[in-house]
């Protein structure tokens, strides 16, 4: 092994050792990047990375939407917008066999549009939808599987915090990533609903049909859901029509969610403390990871690994698609240990140059990458969304939840295959919007 490659291997071994020793992932990346870069280029220049990189990350205007989206999600949760979304979708399709599960997927998609985080979507919808599904005789496996899988839509439906981080690290326009995600997100919802329909066809007793709601009652629910419509409409509509920039759309979302929470009298001492703690903790956690990743990227770049890997893969006599599939398999394996953001920030410095070197588009890769790492949220052994659902109802064993996820995992794999084989599904809309 040549010097730089050996150095990279040692650097990654050190990074993984620190991570497995309970060192926070952002700190582990920062420290191993500092040591690695220090050995290669001297510790004086390496030390300056602790000034230049945090300064660049903290003052980055594109990343500043992260705390705004987090604040918007917290405000939307305390103001009960998630209940409204769920009630609205249920009123329309709840009477189908499996309709409650389909409504949950719709609710997750709607909440994902105002939240941007997968576990937050799973936790919020889990508290609303799980008791209802169990009360109506749904099998616990299908009920929890639906919510855990539906929760992943929070990450895939724009605005998504993971997409903002990807855009920053890949140096792409975040609006392009958001637009590119629209069709894949729609496909995700359709395939998840199809998975429920097929499941219910095979095991009808797993999801009894709910009662049909009268049209007058439906009209009342639609009238009462105006807040949701305004919120999603103002953020998504403003963003995609080109009226607002991403930062402006996030600010509008915060303002609408704040006004909604205020008029609903949802803002009290307890809820405000919750909002402050959630926004502060999650923002800080993400920024520490990004700062650590920026320092680590310096080290990886200094080893010249990305160039060497691109050259190696380019010289290989195998179709690029095979390499992409191998990389996706690596992410599925990584998803067994790491959460989504960690998987992405640790690997992006050397994977992205390889992918773009093979002739693929960085925007397309962002969508594929997010879809594959979100699988880790619902697959064993960690499966964060599964753990959240288990936390909401401890009487449902984790193994049962994982079993309930199987149809949705199959649907997700089909979706990933479709987007990999037909990149135009992700890349067509950004060309129209430009």
């Amino acid at each position: 092994m040549s010097g730089p490659l050996a150095m990279t291997a040692i650097g990654f071994a050190g990074l993984f050792a620190l991570i497995l020793m309970r060192v926070p992932i952002g700190v582990a990346m920062g420290i191993s990047g500092f040591v690695g870069f220090g050995i290669l280029s001297g510790f004086g220049p390496a030390l300056t990375l602790f000034g230049t990189e945090p300064a660049q990350v903290l003052s980055n205007a594109n990343l500043a939407v992260v705390p705004l989206f987090l604040l918007m999600g917290s405000l939307a949760t305390v103001s009960g917008l998630s209940d409204d979304i769920y009630r609205l979708v249920y009123a329309m399709i709840g009477h189908w066999p499996g309709g409650l599960a389909c409504a949950t997927v719709g609710g997750c998609a709607g909440f994902g549009a105002v939240c941007g985080s997968s576990p937050a979507t799973a936790a919020t919808m889990g508290q609303i939808a799980l008791p209802q599904m169990l009360r109506r005789g749904y099998s616990p496996g299908l009920a929890t599987g639906t919510i855990a899988a539906g929760g992943t839509l929070g990450m895939l439906i724009p605005p998504s915090i993971v997409m903002v981080i990807y855009a920053f690290l890949a140096r792409e326009f975040v609006i392009d990533i958001f637009v590119a995600a629209l069709l894949p997100a729609l496909l995700a919802v359709v395939l998840q609903v199809l998975a429920i329909i097929v499941y219910v066809r095979i095991w009808p007793e797993a999801a009894p049909a709910g009662e049909r709601i009268a049209w007058r009652e439906r009209a009342r629910i639609v009238r009462n859901s105006w807040g949701v419509v305004i919120m999603i409409g103002s953020v998504m509509g403003g963003l995609y029509s080109g009226i607002f920039t991403v930062n402006e759309a996030a600010a509008v979302g915060v303002l609408v969610a704040f006004l909604f929470a205020m008029f609903r009298r949802s803002l009290n001492r307890r809820s405000v403390i919750r909002i402050v703690r959630e926004t502060a903790s999650n923002t800080a956690m993400i920024y520490v990871i990004i700062i650590g990743a920026s320092i680590f990227t310096y080290f990886v770049t200094a080893t010249r690994l990305p160039g060497a890997l691109t050259q190696t893969f380019g010289d290989m006599d195998v179709p690029p698609l095979v390499i992409i599939v191998a990389i996706l398999a690596m992410y599925v394996a990584l998803g067994c240990v790491f959460d989504t953001i960690s998987s992405m920030v640790i690997t992006l410095p050397f994977v992205l140059p390889v992918v773009t070197g093979l002739g693929y588009d960085a925007i397309w890769w962002g969508i594929v990458l997010i879809m594959v790492i979100e699988l880790g949220m619902i697959t064993p052994p960690v499966g964060m969304n599964v753990l959240i659902l288990h936390g909401i109802d401890r009487t449902i064993p984790i193994g049962r939840i994982f079993t309930g996820i199987i149809p949705f995992a199959i649907a997700d794999l089909i979706r990933i295959a479709i987007i990999v084989l037909f990149p135009a599904l992700a890349l067509w809309l950004p060309t129209i919007v430009r």
Binding site: R22, I25, V27, T52, R277, T279, A280, N282, V288, D339
Partner: protein, 166 residues
């Protein structure tokens, strides 16, 4: 210390609300009255700086990190606890180096008289304020290390320590 970190986090959220108001105001004026407010993005960037820095001490105090816990659990409660102390010490080193280098960065900006493009606001004082807030992370993390050293038994553990909702 909890009150100080909580108050700082609240200030951070207020800064975010201020960013929200000026950004929405600018968007409305630009869209409907074709008279955008000059320099809004510059003010928003400076406020975001303060907001994000204000969130970090609370996050450290609450030990709200993304970390992998479940493998360390296999080594037993005693090792699990000491690995936690090790992680907290490295976090202290990380933040100490960051504050040190950001102080140098801030002083450089101050002495060079760097300013924003449109409004010509000096950015040095903003960076100095940001560094001062971040400096609080050091005593907070020292208290975290001390608490971990004095804690009886293993601290909270789980399949993964990815906290809360993200």
């Amino acid at each position: 210390m909890s009150r100080i970190t909580a108050a700082l986090a609240a200030i951070g959220v207020c800064a975010l609300m201020a960013i929200t108001l000026i950004t929405v105001g600018d968007a409305i004026l630009r869209t409907y009255f074709t008279s955008p407010v000059v320099g809004v993005s510059e003010v928003a960037e400076l406020l975001a700086l303060i907001a994000i820095a204000s969130f970090l001490p609370l996050s450290l105090e609450a030990r709200h990190h993304l970390s992998i816990d479940f493998l360390a659990e296999a080594f037993g409660r005693h090792s699990y606890r000491w690995l936690g102390v090790f992680g907290a010490l490295l976090t202290l080193v990380f933040f100490s180096m960051m504050v040190w280098q950001l102080l140098r960065h801030s002083l450089d900006l101050l002495s060079s008289g760097a300013s924003t493009w449109f409004l010509a606001w000096p950015v040095g004082p903003w960076w100095l304020a940001t560094t001062a807030i971040l400096f609080l992370c050091i005593p907070v993390q020292i208290l975290v290390v001390r608490a971990l050293l004095t804690e009886k038994g293993a601290e909270h553990s789980g399949a993964t320590a990815s906290e809360d909702l993200l």
